[in-house]
């Protein structure tokens, strides 16, 4: 992968509506090679999928809650079961195993506090958890699916630009 691939990815992370020909122009490439690079990156799994992003407000899920979880059961088995349970809840959009103080962190999206409370009850009904603490986001100041491309490992052969 080189700088041109990076440019292509940068554009595709913003908008996949862009026609290959236009994209090629912006990147400074002609259509065919640009198209081939995209194909390759799809094959290689660099490009995972192409999806639609919706407006959380219009979908009635504007409230984000971060849920910190501590557990007693540090077994693989418990984690497996917990992962299964969490996967069932579409409200959980992110789920991390953490180092340090907290064991797991969830990002949950719901319409309002009442809905969060309902979600919470459904969750703890499904699985035993030692300690749960919820932090509410008042405002989402930034949210992007665009990963920084500056750390990409670049094939230097191509030289400048």
């Amino acid at each position: 992968m080189d700088r041109l691939d990076r440019k292509i990815l940068r554009l595709l992370q913003e908008d996949t509506t862009l026609a290959v020909a236009d994209l090629a122009k912006k990147v400074g490439l002609s259509t065919t090679p640009c198209w081939r690079r995209i194909q390759k990156m799809e094959e290689d799994g660099v490009i995972r999928r192409r999806v639609a992003l919706l407006d959380p407000v219009k979908i009635n899920t504007k409230v984000t809650v971060f849920v910190s979880i501590r557990t007693n059961s540090h077994s693989m088995e418990w984690l497996r079961r917990f992962s299964e349970v969490v996967a069932e809840f579409p409200e959980v959009v992110e789920f991390y195993r953490m180092s340090g103080d907290v064991d797991y962190l969830l990002r949950v999206v719901v319409p309002d506090i009442a809905a969060y409370d309902a979600f919470y009850k459904r969750l703890i009904a499904k699985i035993e958890i030692r300690d749960v603490s919820s932090a509410f986001a008042m405002e989402q100041i930034k949210y992007t699916t665009q990963l920084p491309l500056d750390y990409m490992i670049i094939d230097q052969k191509t030289g400048e630009e």
Copy 2:
């Protein structure tokens, strides 16, 4: 919006590659009305954008760090400046103003701990922050851009299905 719109959104949140005709079939609609519904939802801003999702591992940003921030300056002015600074860093993919103990929460993606340290130094060089605490994710168990559609406000006229 009704149940059919919801079905359409569910599919588009998974994959925008799907041809309108195929999507229509899955939803149980013929092509034109399905296409028109999509158009409408784009106009209405329910569908925000269509983007490519990349593989964090391949892009060399597999480490997620949650950064909790406390500040002394609770002024609008400080927040404005802080937002500006944060917006400059592509490593910050999410940024929330929180209620309670912590004032702000960032999700930062980097290749490794060393890169996080470098990021951290660049950040605090740019703006005064009272207290910063970083929590590292060991594993990303779930990450989705698909919002739950169960809370959508549905026009009941259509009745069942």
